[in-house]
């Protein structure tokens, strides 16, 4: 072994991500020998937890996978089960669900950008620092978060872990007087989203280049920019129905992590999330978001993964515009007061997949029911699990570029990189914190 320089970079716990995780990089003879993104959030076993429960409990149980994208889990579960029952929800229900989802996108992206990612760029390691030195950004965060929370509360009953979304429909539909006050807030919120877009486009990134990524995203149902669909598309030209997810996502268990790792079509790492969605569907954006996108570094199509945060800001802007449309449509459609649809006659045995584009990427829920509607098998594949392989690839690329740098700088680059993905370890089971970089 003598003569060969070996060292290991360890980031034992990465802060400001959802959940607990760590990064280990082995460097041997000037080359990266091994990269591990370890998720050591305790195991949650949702695929097992749901067994034996009734289908109608799925939204409530699976929302507990993760608070921040609980709405996504609820909607994925609901879609999967409705697919089994071959049930088509009403137009009204769909509008409510879409609006709800946008509320989550706004809240989750805002929190991710402002609280988890921005402090890296603004160099404010603690909250009070952030709140006092960057009052504008703190305010933007508060306003957008509150907006997202209000939307989700009005539709779902509370800011997260919604109680009002069920298989079949809502238990109570929002009334005109609940929704209309949103319009004014939505209108004001554009400036906050634009502020984030400006701020993020103007950043100098600590990393020049990340590994080239293959993007995957669900093709939205309908013409606009959207988050629900039945077909997934990859940037290498391939397309498949989400129902076949098992064939194209290879989920495997790795020894070092509580999160499973996914690759696409036999081993290829890939990236899901805001950047992937914009890569495919920027042309579906509304006018305002589109013009921001066109001027941004994302427009080139091959951007550094760190721009994911900017992609999220653009999605916030788009979500605000879309929400205004949905609220207006709900108003125009009249406010029906149907209660949750009773599905009793439709319950049957079967299998179904529901895929939803969550803030961090595609989320798949799969269920198998018996004839009484009891869950006999389940599977959930979260975006963070899908991104893990790509993050490891990116880490590898960054370490090779910056190996010569001061270890503290390198560590900070790596943390920034990981945070850009906003890996949700709670989802993947939970995620990361950094204590030191040790060179052995």
């Amino acid at each position: 072994m003598s003569g060969i320089e070996r060292r290991t970079i360890e980031i034992p716990e990465i802060c400001r991500v959802e959940g607990h995780s760590a990064v280990t990089v082995d460097i041997s003879d000037g080359r990266v020998a091994n990269v591990q993104l370890e998720v050591f959030e305790g195991t949650r076993f949702f695929e097992r937890i749901v067994l034996g429960h009734q289908y109608e409990e799925m939204p409530h149980i699976t929302s507990r996978v993760c608070a921040i994208c609980s709405t996504g889990h609820v909607l994925a579960a609901v879609r999967a089960i409705e697919n089994i029952f071959e049930f088509k929800p009403s137009v009204h229900t769909n509008l409510c669900r879409q609006l709800m989802h946008l509320g989550m996108i706004i809240e989750s992206h805002a929190t991710h950008i402002c609280a988890l990612a921005l402090p890296d760029f603004l160099k404010t390691p603690d909250l009070l620092d952030f709140a006092t030195k960057h009052q504008k950004e703190f305010e933007v965060w508060t306003k957008l978060r509150n907006l997202g929370a209000s939307i989700q509360t009005i539709i779902g009953g509370r800011p997260f872990h919604p109680v009002n979304l069920h298989v079949g429909g809502l238990s109570r539909y929002p009334l005109e007087q609940d929704l209309m006050p949103l319009l004014r807030i939505l209108d004001e919120s554009r400036t906050y989203a634009l502020h984030l877009c400006d701020l993020l486009s103007g950043l100098t990134l600590p990393i020049e280049r990340t590994a080239e990524a293959c993007f995957l995203a669900v093709v939205p149902d309908g013409p606009g920019y959207g988050y629900f669909g039945e077909v997934v598309r990859a940037s290498d030209g391939w397309e498949a129905p989400v129902a076949n997810y098992k064939e194209y996502l290879n989920e495997r268990v790795v020894a070092y992590s509580h999160a499973k790792i996914s690759t696409h079509l036999g081993g290829k790492p890939f990236m899901v999330g805001a950047m992937a969605r914009l890569f495919f569907f920027a042309d579906r954006l509304g006018k305002t978001a589109r013009s921001v996108f066109d001027k941004s570094p994302l427009a080139s199509g091959k951007a550094c993964s760190l721009w994911n945060n900017l992609a999220q800001a653009i999605e916030i802007l788009e979500a605000i515009e879309q929400s205004i449309v949905f609220v207006e449509q709900l108003a125009a459609g009249g406010f029906e007061s149907e209660g949750a649809t009773h599905l009793d006659g439709l319950v049957k045995a079967g299998r179904g997949v529901g895929a939803v584009e969550c803030p961090r990427g595609t989320l798949y829920h799969y269920y198998e029911l018996d004839e009484k509607g009891k869950i006999v098998a389940a599977d959930m594949i979260t975006p963070s699990a899908q991104n893990t392989a790509q993050i490891e690839l990116d880490i590898c690329t960054v370490v090779e570029q910056q190996m010569a740098l001061d270890p503290a700088l390198l560590q900070s680059s790596l943390e920034t990189l990981v945070r850009a993905y906003d890996p949700c370890n709670t989802c993947a089971t939970h995620m990361v914190q950094i204590r030191s970089v040790k060179a052995k």
Partner: protein, 261 residues
């Protein structure tokens, strides 16, 4: 906003998490503006990267104990904290993962989710109070922000908060909701679930599914009897009652024919 010098003399709080969905952390983040003038946040790994592990006045802990690492961390937190407060259903009851553990062995779960060769060490999910002394428990999934702030206010004065865990039915009736258990025969768990959410589900016409965990002295056997009379199968009833972590001990008094599966 207070200046840095004043910050030094403020009570220190920490927000830590074990294994959970981070919901409580979000609730705290959402109420940060109200807290910041009165406390110094010395540790909050979810939201800041400069975290100390020195002594703190109040530590709020979210999440359940689900792996050996969590126990170590919890013990360290306990020894550093004057008040240790369990927040959220995971920390108070163990939430859905504990609920499942009472119906299935953790090894089986590991096997079911991660396959045969998994090196992962998992423990059956347990609430904090199974391992350390907990000064107060604030249930909720997620916790109620108003309740959290008033509990924090008490603790900042070094007073134990008043938390009663009366049933959801109380809040439901105070909001004058028609009872969905009676009128719609929905499997409402309001009678055995701790209040605090404001009877959210029944107020929307849906059944309470028990996300706040058991109320004080829940009558599980009676609840099971009544749901069975409404046509729900016993195994379904039990799995609903235990979904959000109600421990087996609460079912001890159930009649032999209603033995916990």
């Amino acid at each position: 906003m207070t200046t840095t010098t004043e910050q030094k003399t403020l009570p220190c709080i920490a927000v830590e998490s074990l294994t959970g969905c981070a919901g409580e952390l979000l609730v705290i983040l959402d109420n940060l503006e109200q807290l910041l003038p009165f406390v110094r946040i010395v540790s909050f790994p979810f939201a800041q990267s400069k975290n100390e592990c020195g002594p703190v006045d109040i530590t709020f802990v979210e999440g359940s104990v689900s792996q050996p690492h969590d126990i170590e961390k919890l013990k360290r937190i306990r020894s550093n904290s004057r008040w240790l407060i369990a927040i959220g259903n995971c920390a108070v009851w163990g939430c859905v993962q504990a609920g499942a553990c009472s119906r299935c062995h953790v090894e089986d779960m590991l096997h079911a989710v991660y396959g045969d060769e998994s090196p992962i060490k998992a423990l059956p999910a347990r609430p904090l109070s199974d391992f350390v002394h907990v000064d107060a428990m604030l249930s909720g999934c997620p916790i109620n922000a108003t309740q959290f702030l008033s509990v924090t206010a008490s603790l900042l004065k070094d007073h134990l908060p008043y938390i009663t865990h009366k049933p959801v039915c109380l809040e439901c009736k105070l909001r004058e909701n028609p009872c969905v258990l009676i009128e719609k025969n929905l499997p409402c768990l309001g009678p055995v679930t701790a209040a605090g959410c404001g009877a959210l589900c029944p107020s929307l016409g849906a059944a309470c599914y028990g996300c706040w965990g058991p109320c004080q002295s829940p009558q599980m056997a009676a609840m099971a009897t009544i749901l069975q009379e409404k046509g729900y199968q016993l195994d379904e009833v039990l799995s609903r009652l235990q979904t959000f972590g109600a421990p087996d001990t609460l079912f001890a008094r159930m009649k032999p024919d209603a033995e916990v599966a």
